[in-house]
Symmetry: C2
Subunit: 171 residues, 2 copies
């Protein structure tokens, strides 16, 4: 089959999107690196933990929410643990499991960094978009994410009638 190339509109959208996402991630990484001494992903880890029940989550669940590989998470958590931002705990119900628990210090760091981070996100993103566009951005993002999450390299989709396990809290 001959390739369906991108239309000029699609080309422009694609390039604009690539540029914007690169620039935005860079700006946010730099801000957080400066003000909190950690890149965006690491901040997000603390943030997700802070909103979880008892401020703790199993590694796999954490990785799933952040859309990153377990291996990447392991590395990040090791660093954050070294820095005292969180602690690893064993899972009582599943001896394989390991739980990342936010420490008080981690929470404090998060609280101190949050205002600056929000300012940045606002300044570079939301202040530049209309309310309408915010809605559009969410819908577009959701559509993209959905397509990419239908279980990664799935087995044809009609092969798995039930939905994936929701979570495995533990603790």
């Amino acid at each position: 089959m001959t390739t369906r190339w991108l239309s000029p509109d699609e080309q422009r959208a694609w390039r604009a999107y690539i540029a914007a996402s690169l620039l935005l991630e860079d700006a946010i990484d730099r801000q957080l690196q400066q003000d909190a001494g950690m890149p965006h992903l690491y901040y997000s880890i603390l943030s997700v933990l802070s909103e979880s029940p008892e401020r703790r989550l199993r590694m796999t669940d954490l990785a799933e929410r952040l859309k990153i590989t377990r291996s990447r998470l392991t590395y990040a958590v090791t660093r954050l643990e070294k820095d005292g931002m969180l602690r690893r705990e064993a899972c009582r119900y599943d001896k394989r499991g390991s739980i990342a628990a936010l420490t008080d210090e981690g929470f404090a760091v998060l609280e101190r960094a949050a205002p600056g981070h929000v300012e940045t996100v606002r300044g570079f993103l939301f202040d530049r978009l209309s309310e309408e566009q915010v809605g559009q951005l969410e819908e577009i993002s959701a559509a993209i994410a959905q397509g990419l999450q239908e279980d990664g390299t799935r087995p044809a989709a009609d092969d798995v009638p039930w939905r994936r396990r929701s979570s495995s809290s533990c603790s």
Copy 2:
């Protein structure tokens, strides 16, 4: 001043966006790594070069178009040169300058990889969006990028009445 936190709508949009951009870049990187043996950025370098006059561009111009640091580009170009995808040439008019020139082999690799790449972008992005949304995505991205490009850490903005130099072709 007390922080203006994100509204629920903004929160959702932000999280959806982060997830989508992570997932999308990952998917594209994986596809290109598989089919062309290089990550997305490296492919983009070849792609930009292929569309430039004489298929060559100065390092700084290349970095500017791709929105990456010169140092990152240096590393990437070194790898691509080692792989024979491009060649570095001296700049005749500016002895500091160095020009990246796509080789025939690089062009060939690009041509072979392009269809698969476009399929992927289409499958994960454009096939999931309405025509309208494509337009919205472009506008949103452009707005974001614009805000982030007003000359990085600029000197107060009212300090530089003229616009930055456009380019420095050479060769």
